[in-house]
Symmetry: C2
Subunit: 413 residues, 2 copies
């Protein structure tokens, strides 16, 4: 293993033993100190970020990607305030989830504990560095961060500022950044079962698939979102249009935006022209044959229905029945978020029971699939796997549990 | 992919859509029918099992392993009764775990749902085939079973009997057995992310490590148990001996039996001779230098402290402090189960807080780390990883959850 990485991981594992028992007030104090340090180092952080931006320009990075990379004073102060908000959230650690008294007198408490060492692999946005580090800290976890090389100067500076601020409060290794740029380092991190308890990839589909395929450390898969809106035959048309606009146009680049609208045939002739009015020319429409018999748009291929555009493009399909809508979603969804618009509660119940996506909605936008909107205060990401946790990952979902069993000499019969 | 496997997996995935919504009474009916069918087919099952036993003898399998493989009338009827017991357990599916009402009026329900398709890879014991199939059924999950080749005839017969019994009650693919004997089939099963939601290896360390290293499907790691008993300076000596006997000798071959006893130096001279009286000659003792200065025994090497004997052998180490005991356990434990015997509540709290094993005990035997003993009614195994679930995996722990969100037209601001 790379020596820098091995040393980081050894420190992280040692730090995890301290963090798992750290009192809430000590963790909160460290968070507030970090927030203050970010505010106090705005200039230095901007300077480091400029080096990344310069390299990005030299490498011809797109304007949109450059914007993701940018840290200005406003953004840095917003990041600092987010850290202060994390300090105000309830500490999930130590909560007794369940308590059972057995006939033999044993008392079994299921208690929430940290997971331990998080390995986080992410791409360009440097704000993720602070978000993850502080969410891990609040939940008693330790993080080993591997950010994208395009943000290396920003990330180094942010971690340096955080670690300098907490050097008397937290053990070495609580927050660490892997600065080795060799891509093979990711492979080493995600197979370091001896040191790392969970790996979370945050980024594009390529990164996520690489991690899922190659990790031997348990992975929480996040982010891929091919989400659906189904407009039922009993839908309120105005509500359906309002939700379509919100779920597609408000912020198309995020994972909880929809990629496909399914419309029941009985309302397609009313709904689709309204959709054209609302979406065109902002959004490019792609439709199946039945859609194109009603409105003028490009053809949606099978591949299109499998595509997460994250852009001003939407697929449309007319279905004969709600069952056909559910079948389509079952086959094309990434199991993130789906919504039905209908005034028919029976139809809504069928749709929500029959689908196995992380979040299923009745008469609401899929854009609510978010830790903040769910009331979790913050989130690590949106899980699209069924193991461990699904949907928005708040502080609780960043935890494990253990059983603490109290006896007075019991032995098994 | 192997064609037989691909067909099984397609059927399993389709069956999972039905199972996830199946009412409790229908699942219970199927369980009772399976139990009756096992009772009615005792002779046929014994006959199939004889073929496996004959092959085992011809291949020179150890008597202990042959006993694991054996199915006689008593064992088959016990398996059938275990199935009836599963029918009586509470159905975990559909339970509202948490309900949140948001300021915007959205109602968010976190509801327990099945995980979907379980891939189970296990070794010799054919009773596992029925145990797993019926626990999966009760929890609304589908199973694809890959048993050991030494039990292939028994497993085929058991699955045939179960499937024949439920052919009008459950969809094809609810219970299936991979009968391809080529070892590469395991590699295909544990990387079939399109079809399989979770893989659970049940068997020896070699099998578990192979699955952990090579799976891209999420894994629940079970079973490895290097468990510890720490006899504190404030321990009741009689209780410590009683728990040592139970945790080591009652059933040494299981994962919740202890492999190492740590003794505080202040009580070592009293405790160790008592331990010799209780253990020798049944159990072989291996000790560190400080132990061997007090009692006569073989030397325990560093490798010994890393070994899961599952046998009548125990390591002993004398520690100067409780901190040293905790450090040792941190370094050598498989994070399964550890116990402290002490009359000092402060010492117990320190021990239980400082360790990050799945189950930590005060004044009780580690042998209670078991789904039945925890009151779960049954178990899939004992998880030693921190993701998803830890300790005994009951029906609840075989589930995921989803969020069902109810609105009246809400869109995100």
């Amino acid at each position: 293993m790379n020596q820098q990485l091995e040393q980081l991981l050894k420190n992280a594992k040692a730090a995890a033993r301290v963090l798992m028992k750290m009192p809430t007030d000590e963790k909160n104090k460290a968070l507030l100190v970090i927030a203050d340090a970010l505010d106090a180092n705005v200039e230095g952080i901007i300077e480091a970020n400029k080096a990344d931006l310069k390299a990005a320009q030299d490498n011809g990075m797109s304007k949109a990607m450059q914007d993701r990379l940018l840290l200005d004073e406003k953004r840095i102060r917003a990041i600092a305030n987010d850290v202060r908000k994390v300090a105000t959230l309830d500490d999930p650690i130590g909560e007794v989830i369940r308590e059972m008294k057995r006939p033999n007198g044993l008392v079994i408490k299921q208690v929430r504990v940290p997971i331990g060492v998080f390995g986080i692999i992410y791409e360009s946005r440097p704000n993720v560095t602070v978000d993850i580090a502080t969410l891990c800290l609040k939940s008693g976890n330790v993080c080993v961060l591997k950010g994208g090389k395009e943000a290396i100067n920003s990330n180094k500076k942010l971690v340096e500022v955080m670690n300098e601020a907490v050097k008397d409060l937290l053990p070495v290794g609580t927050i660490s950044l892997v600065t080795v740029l060799d891509r093979s380092i990711v492979g080493e991190l995600i197979t370091a079962n001896e040191y790392v308890d969970v790996v979370v990839p945050r980024g594009g589909a390529g990164l996520i698939q690489f991690v899922v395929k190659n990790a031997s450390v348990p992975v929480i898969e996040t982010g891929a979102g091919i989400c659906h809106l189904y407009v039922d035959k009993d839908a309120d048309m105005d509500m359906a249009i309002k939700i379509a606009i919100n779920a597609k146009i408000q912020r198309p680049s995020v994972c909880n935006a929809i990629e496909t609208i399914l419309v029941h045939k009985d309302v397609a002739e009313v709904f689709l022209p309204k959709l054209v009015d609302a979406f065109v020319p902002t959004v490019q429409l792609k439709g199946d044959d039945k859609t194109r018999a009603i409105i003028d748009c490009a053809e949606a291929t099978d591949q299109d229905f499998h595509t997460e555009y994250d852009d001003y493009i939407v697929n449309i399909k007319v279905v004969d029945t709600i069952e056909e809508a559910v079948d389509h979603i079952f086959n094309y969804s990434t199991k993130h978020s789906e919504t039905i618009v209908t005034d028919n509660d029976e139809a809504a119940a069928y749709f929500m029971d029959a689908l196995d996506s992380a979040c299923v909605y009745h008469n609401a936008s899929t854009r609510f699939s978010d830790g903040g909107e769910f009331g979790f205060g913050a989130e690590l990401g949106i899980s699209t796997q069924k193991l461990h946790a699904r949907g928005p990952l708040g502080l609780r979902e960043m935890c494990s549990f253990k059983y603490m069993v109290y006896g007075d000499g019991q032995v098994r019969q």
